[in-house]
């Protein structure tokens, strides 16, 4: 969280191999890796062989892929210090608009393009409110959340033919469904794509100038401004990125689920940000966190949920787990010298 990966790497050459492992384990990523190992170990004993079957991997990773894609794009705005709470509602809007167009006999590719544009449009409204007028990001994107939830519902009930009696759209797009379900040996294709996205984003954040600029804007906007960075533009584009990710996620959900439920993505803004925070991002301060950590954060929750699922335990336990894990991770981070509240 507070330590960034490049810092860690620069010290590593002085240490022996064992110390290196020890050091990385005591870091923020290490906490999650240890946690993951513990959960997987527990699962191995308790659930048995099923933990390691390719089908179970598909269950964990295949369903992790879409939130991961949404989360990685949303992490740009976290990094730039502008939290976007509207992502969950944006996912629902994207799914509903996409399904609305497809059921209205619009070509799928055209429908996808229109959907992305619509979502980018609302992302731009976020951007104008926050960057141009200087509105508080939490307040403005919360308004967007409320508004888009309503809009998704309105569009869903507007469809011709159904009158106003139902707001559930059932729609199977075979090509898209096959794509979301496809596997290369034991790895879901969608997950491979999401993971590539993580690596690419990690590369951008760590090694390109653009990535450094985003971190700089989120970390210390005054210094960034003094250094001559286009802080406004970077913030604006980071909000567009999170809207873009949500629009892709929504359409992928239509493919995977074979329908566009208006309630899609309810509370997703909280579950994804909780996972990203577990992985080292902060919704209170930009400039910290990296995509690999975010991935681990989402992964540990998914793996725990998988353990609960496979044992048929009370699924209400998962929410309680997320809450406590978040507190523990943040607390450990503070002990390590991360941001403490006062």
């Amino acid at each position: 969280m507070a330590t960034n990966p490049t810092q860690l790497a620069s010290h590593d050459h002085k240490l022996s191999k064992f110390e290196m492992i020890k050091k990385s384990l005591s870091g923020p990523g290490g906490t999650i890796v240890i946690g993951l190992a513990l959960i997987i170990g527990t699962s191995a004993i308790w659930v048995g062989k099923m933990t390691f079957t390719s089908f179970n991997l598909y269950l964990v990773l295949g369903y992790l892929a879409i939130p991961l894609i949404i989360g990685i794009f949303a992490s740009f705005s976290l990094l730039a210090g502008v939290v976007d709470l509207s992502i969950g509602a944006m996912v629902a809007l994207s799914a509903v608009v996409f399904a609305y167009l497809c059921t209205g006999n619009v070509n799928e590719w055209l429908a996808a393009a229109i959907t992305i544009l619509v979502c980018l449009g609302f992302g731009a409204i976020n951007g104008v409110a926050i960057v141009v007028f200087g509105a508080n990001p939490i307040a403005a994107t919360l308004g967007m959340l409320v508004g888009l939830r309503g809009l998704a519902r309105i569009i869903s009930q507007m469809r011709p033919g159904t009158g106003s009696s139902q707001d559930a759209i059932s729609l199977m797009i075979t090509g898209l469904n096959n794509f979301t379900e496809a596997q290369i040996s034991f790895m879901p294709v969608l997950f491979i794509i999401a993971l590539l996205l993580v690596f690419v984003t990690q590369g951008i954040i760590s090694f390109t100038r653009g990535g450094r600029h985003v971190r700089a804007v989120g970390g210390d906007i005054v210094a960034a401004r003094r250094a001559g960075l286009a802080t406004e533009r970077i913030k604006f584009f980071s909000l567009l990125a999170s809207a873009f990710g949500a629009s892709i996620g929504g359409m992928l959900y239509v493919g995977k689920l074979g329908g566009a439920p208006v309630t899609l993505g309810t509370n997703m803004e909280f579950t994804i940000y909780a996972a990203l925070m577990i992985g080292g991002y902060s919704i209170l301060r930009g400039g910290v966190g990296n995509p690999m950590g975010g991935f681990l954060g989402l992964l540990i929750i998914a793996v725990f949920a998988n353990l609960v699922d496979n044992k048929g335990l009370d699924t209400r336990a998962a929410d309680i787990f997320v809450g406590f894990l978040l507190l523990i991770i943040v607390f450990l981070d503070i002990r390590r010298g991360g941001d403490a509240f006062e």
Binding site: G150, I154, I221, I320
Partner: protein, 330 residues
């Protein structure tokens, strides 16, 4: 977000200029509210009826009380309490539990509110002693709390013959009885933050915690008071909720969280803390509660409500932020 943090290190503006700023917010909100009522009356002259009055005032009851609790957190620099609906539900459930145990009314009310307060104490312990940011704490306890409530209570039924149910439908001085807690809390909060020493300490801590500390105010004490206070107010909302809802379900909090934050933000409370007027909050709650009723008069379905509220919120925070930036630039 960085604005949110950097604000904390600025010297808070003098109280006089703050007062005129609040007055402007109140007048603008009041103007918009009256405008909404006027166009509704022009649209349909029977808008001004006792039933409309009842609908709007009942709409205000729960959101109003919760908004005061939330406003209390915001103004004191606690950013937001994302678990305030859990406080409310704890109190609602305990109200029923205590009623079934045969507790008398004052003991029941105090007991339920204190149970909510205990939850607030838990929040504040995490904030003060573990030094975790309140937004993260309440996000986590909101999550976990909802899950725990579902496991412990699932649902509770309120006896329709009980005083709790009567309270939810009765009137006092021409207003719904359940409306008065909000009105009294608004007046109380207004005078508390404006004139009492303790109240001004909250404002000082919210506006600039470092200088407040330098002045000898105990940050820990203030933070604990903030989160316990907010949970206690949430507990009051819980009793109203029990009066309104004979079947209490743990998921009901989701219907209140966003409108409550919207009301606080619309009232011009700065999420950076130290700035906000409870009179403006009252007007903001009134305005937001009038929207759904007015929509029905315009023949629009209630699904338009969230859409319109959301975009009003974006526009309002944008204008508010722009106004402040301009004022600073001058």
């Amino acid at each position: 977000m960085s604005r949110l943090l950097s604000n904390r290190f600025k010297v808070p503006s003098l109280r006089k200029s703050a007062d005129s700023e609040y007055l402007a917010t109140i007048l603008v909100l009041l103007g918009v509210w009256i405008f909404l009522i006027v166009i509704s009356v022009i649209n349909r002259s029977d808008f001004l009826s006792r039933a409309t009055f009842g609908a709007i005032t009942f709409n205000m009851c729960i959101i109003g009380v919760l908004a005061i609790g939330q406003g209390f957190v915001v103004i004191s620099g606690g950013i937001l309490d994302l678990s305030i609906t859990v406080s409310m539900l704890i109190s609602s459930f305990m109200t029923v539990v205590f009623y079934e145990l045969g507790w008398n009314t004052p003991a029941l009310i105090i007991g339920s509110i204190l149970c909510a307060g205990a939850f607030g104490l838990f929040n504040s312990i995490l904030v003060v002693w573990l030094k975790i940011n309140p937004l993260i704490v309440t996000l986590a306890t909101g999550f976990a709390g909802g899950g725990v409530l579902l496991i412990v209570f699932d649902r509770k039924l309120v006896d329709p013959k009980s005083w709790i149910a009567d309270f939810g439908t009765s009137y006092l001085f021409r207003f719904p009885t359940a409306w008065w807690p909000m009105a009294l809390l608004t007046i109380g909060a207004h005078f508390f933050f404006k004139y009492s020493r303790f109240g001004r300490h909250f404002l000082a801590v919210g506006g600039n915690p470092l200088s407040a500390k330098a002045m000898g105010i105990s940050l820990k004490r203030m933070r604990v008071s903030t989160f316990v206070g907010a949970a206690l107010i949430g507990g009051i909302a819980g009793i109203i909720f029990a009066g309104f809802t004979p079947e209490i379900r743990p998921n009901a909090g989701t219907y209140y969280m966003l409108p409550v934050i919207a009301a606080v933000v619309l009232a011009g409370f700065s999420l950076a803390g130290g700035r906000g007027s409870f009179l403006a909050l009252f007007v903001s709650v009134g305005f937001l509660s009038t929207i759904p009723t007015a929509l029905v008069f315009f023949g629009l379905k209630s699904i338009w409500e969230t859409f319109i509220q959301g975009f009003i919120l974006i526009i309002a925070v944008s204008i508010d932020a722009y106004r402040i930036v301009k004022a600073r630039g001058r």
